[in-house]
């Protein structure tokens, strides 16, 4: 099962190496990892998506907590949280089929951010399923390049019933 782990860390050199080392030393594959500054410039947030059985994940969470540079670890899995990923995708697009691609872009509320005589580059944001879906829809046209940021996530504030 996939887990989304949000980690607040000291914004310092070497921290990313410590965290990635912790995963690699346990022969544990990271699906995605994104890092960026938070509202406090001395703190960065890492959002790590990993797969693995519960026991290994519990151990990973505990090991993350042991790192001196780690301030807080939360496993968002099973909680109500917002997750988003940014996708840039370059698709083969001759003038004759551009409009067909643009329809798909509209459906997914994505954007065209670059155009050339033979390609379109599209920007999309969303949860993992939406990103996978748009890639799936564009695949038949011929995908030239893909860049994905990996997931960022945050728990929802309002957790009770409306």
């Amino acid at each position: 099962m996939k887990h989304t782990i949000s980690v607040l860390v000291e914004n310092r050199f070497g921290v990313l190496a410590r965290i990635s080392g912790l995963f690699s030393s346990r022969a544990f594959n990271i699906d995605s990892l994104s890092v960026g500054e938070t509202e406090d410039p001395t703190v960065s947030r890492m959002t790590i998506v990993v797969g693995g059985d519960e026991r290994v994940l519990e151990q990973v969470t505990k090991q993350l907590n042991r790192l001196i540079d780690v301030i807080k670890v939360s496993d968002l899995t099973g909680e109500n949280f917002v997750e988003r990923e940014l996708l840039l995708i370059k698709v083969a697009a001759t003038p004759s089929i551009r409009s067909e691609i643009m329809q798909i872009v509209d459906i997914f509320r994505a954007k065209i951010v670059d155009i050339s005589p033979t390609t379109l580059t599209i920007e999309a944001t969303g949860g993992e399923q939406k990103i996978d879906a748009i890639i799936g829809m564009l695949r038949p046209f011929g995908i030239k390049e893909i860049a994905r940021t990996g997931k960022v996530a945050m728990p929802r504030e309002f957790r009770g019933k409306v």
């Binding site: 050199f13 070497g14 080392g21 907590n65 790192l67 001196i68 540079d69 301030i71």
Partner: protein
């Protein structure tokens, strides 16, 4: 007042109460050594290999409970510390390692004697600092000592680029280390402690397993109080030896691969296992599925990550062993002896540790027993790794914490002799014996020069069987006696080697000379090497073959 980085470092070390430093100088740390030259409050011990500096600082820490400090230059000096740092990491030893580094503008340029030592040691340090600004130096030292010595202790490395050490800044030493990501939990949760007390009351066949954490936390007295109050037998792991008196009626000795028969049976049959400051190492558990199969498991440990790592735990209590035991002793109900105690006493009588005595050839176990008797148990024993380590664990009856010093987790051959140097410095009046093998002793034999230079009366007892004995034992038992690369076709005369260094050396080949040689070593006012030529075929028993359940022990084999 402005001080240089070197001055700040030395001042900061003094504020941390450091009065002893082990190491070797080199280009990148020459300014620090220049400052040490006039230093009166810090004694410097020049070892002969950086690995020994780390082990000596580790031995010092284990014998004293204080943080050990070692220093090495950049590049090879730093990489030579690595095994010592890893050894300290595995056994939770408070250690601060100082390394030189090339100047900050040169870092990453493959400069002369450059090594990315914070990178290399990342998985084997509790934390590390690469000081890139002299203004951060004092704070880094403060934090390093705080991190190394608190919570679950461990090694911290401070990498010091040469330009930082030479730069100057105002010196103020921080009063406190404030680290938002590091707040170890010391007080166990009262509800969890209550659950433990109830489990003890309900249990019919309880057993306590005490590890190195009991010694680190200084909880030996509280452990004894608990054991006696609830009449529960106590097993001590390799690193826990000395946490509970071996000659106490409730003591069951060591568990695991070379543990006692009755300790392993106790674990297999118990209905409650209370593990305190022990981490269920695979050498203790054997086959995990068959470990304590009938037991509810209580795990008291300061490191939350140790809980349920190897063995699923029913009642975890995270915190300091001493504080938790004080609270547990306060609330737990007194218990009387039961049938379970009778059964274990019976097993203890029926299956004692034993070996075949001989008056023709020296038995290694006999040497250890004689060291125990000659010192009346009042000695600090350090060990190398392998058969010597196990015999030293089995046949010396430890009664005090910090009297058995051995590389348990990493299993580092070459550890015992430099660790004995550190232990002797920590406890100048103690008799310190390194129980060694001929293989291990050769791995740091150069430190004979160090014990001479600093007049350290360390005694080395080599159980010399001309083999890498533990591997040979496995080859005999499991590899058809194919002794691949375990026999030393060339071996020095250790007594003569000792003499060449200026150390008294004795070779002993007859069992009847064993005791006299040990007595002579003890009464010699200086270091002594005793080269005991022992029965090369002797094996460590009992033995649980790798991957087997701990009650599937080999007792003896022809």
């Amino acid at each position: 007042m402005e001080l240089t980085g070197a001055e700040i470092l030395i001042e900061s070390l003094k504020r941390e109460g450091v009065d002893i430093l082990f190491g070797i100088p080199g280009g990148a740390v020459i300014s620090i050594f220049d400052r040490l030259y006039d230093e009166k409050e810090i004694r410097f011990i020049l070892v002969r290999h950086e690995q020994a500096a780390a082990h000596a600082a580790d031995g010092y820490a284990r014998a004293s409970g204080k943080t050990g400090v070692c220093i090495a230059t950049s590049g090879p000096g730093a990489t030579n510390l690595v095994t010592g740092i890893a050894t300290a990491y595995m056994d939770s030893v408070p250690l601060v390692a100082l390394t030189g580094q090339v100047g900050t503008p040169m870092i990453g340029s493959d400069a002369f004697q450059e090594a990315d030592i914070t990178g290399i040691t990342r998985p084997i340090t509790k934390h590390s600092y690469l000081v890139k600004d002299v203004r951060n130096l004092a704070r880094s030292v403060k934090e390093a000592f705080h991190i190394a010595s608190t919570g679950r202790p461990g090694p911290v490395l401070i990498d010091l680029p040469v330009d930082i050490v030479r730069a100057s800044t105002d010196f103020t030493y921080p009063e406190k280390a404030e680290i938002r990501g590091y707040r170890p939990n010391y007080d166990g949760h009262p509800r969890q402690i209550k659950k433990v007390a109830e489990a003890i009351t309900e249990a019919k066949r309880p057993v306590i397993c005490a590890g190195g954490g009991v010694i680190i936390s200084g909880a030996a007295k509280e452990l004894r109080e608990l054991a006696e109050k609830v009449q529960t037998p106590v097993i001590t792991t390799l690193l826990g030896l000395g946490a509970f008196p071996s000659d106490h009626p409730l003591s069951l000795g060591m568990p695991g691969m070379h543990g006692t028969y009755y300790a392993n049976i106790a674990i297999t049959e118990c209905d409650l296992l209370i593990s305190i400051g022990a981490r269920f190492d695979d050498r203790v558990t054997g086959k995990v599925e068959a470990f304590a199969p009938h037991a509810k498991i209580v795990h008291i440990d300061i490191d939350p990550a140790a809980i349920s790592k190897n063995v699923a735990v029913d009642i975890p209590v995270v915190g300091d062993a001493k504080r938790i035991l004080v609270e547990l002793n306060r609330i737990v109900k007194k218990k009387e002896r039961s049938e379970w105690n009778e059964r274990l006493d019976f097993l203890k009588r029926k299956y004692p540790l034993q070996y075949e005595k001989s008056d023709k050839v020296i038995k290694p176990q006999y040497v250890v027993e004689q060291i125990y008797e000659a010192t009346k148990g009042e000695a600090i024993i350090t060990t190398e790794v392998g058969q010597n380590q196990m015999w030293a664990a089995q046949y010396f009856k430890y009664s005090k914490p910090r009297s058995y010093i051995s590389s348990g987790g990493l299993g580092t051959m070459g550890y015992g002799f430099p660790a004995a140097i550190g232990a002797q410095i920590a406890r100048p009046d103690a008799i310190v014996f390194d129980i060694a093998g001929d293989g291990s002793f050769q791995m740091n034999i150069q430190e004979l020069a160090t014990v001479v230079q600093y007049k350290l009366p360390v005694k080395v007892a080599i159980l010399n069987n001309r083999f890498l004995g533990m591997v040979r034992q496995w080859q005999e038992l499991f590899f058809n006696k194919r002794y691949s690369a375990t026999f030393f076709e060339a071996l020095p005369d250790f007594a003569k080697v000792a003499e060449a260094y200026g150390v008294k050396g004795l070779s002993i080949t007859d069992p009847k000379d064993v005791r006299a040689a040990i007595e002579e070593a003890i009464s010699t006012d200086g270091p002594v090497v005793l080269d005991f030529h022992v029965d090369w075929e002797e094996k460590v028993f009992p033995m649980v073959p790798a991957g087997k359940a701990i009650n599937e022990m080999i007792e003896r084999m022809a």
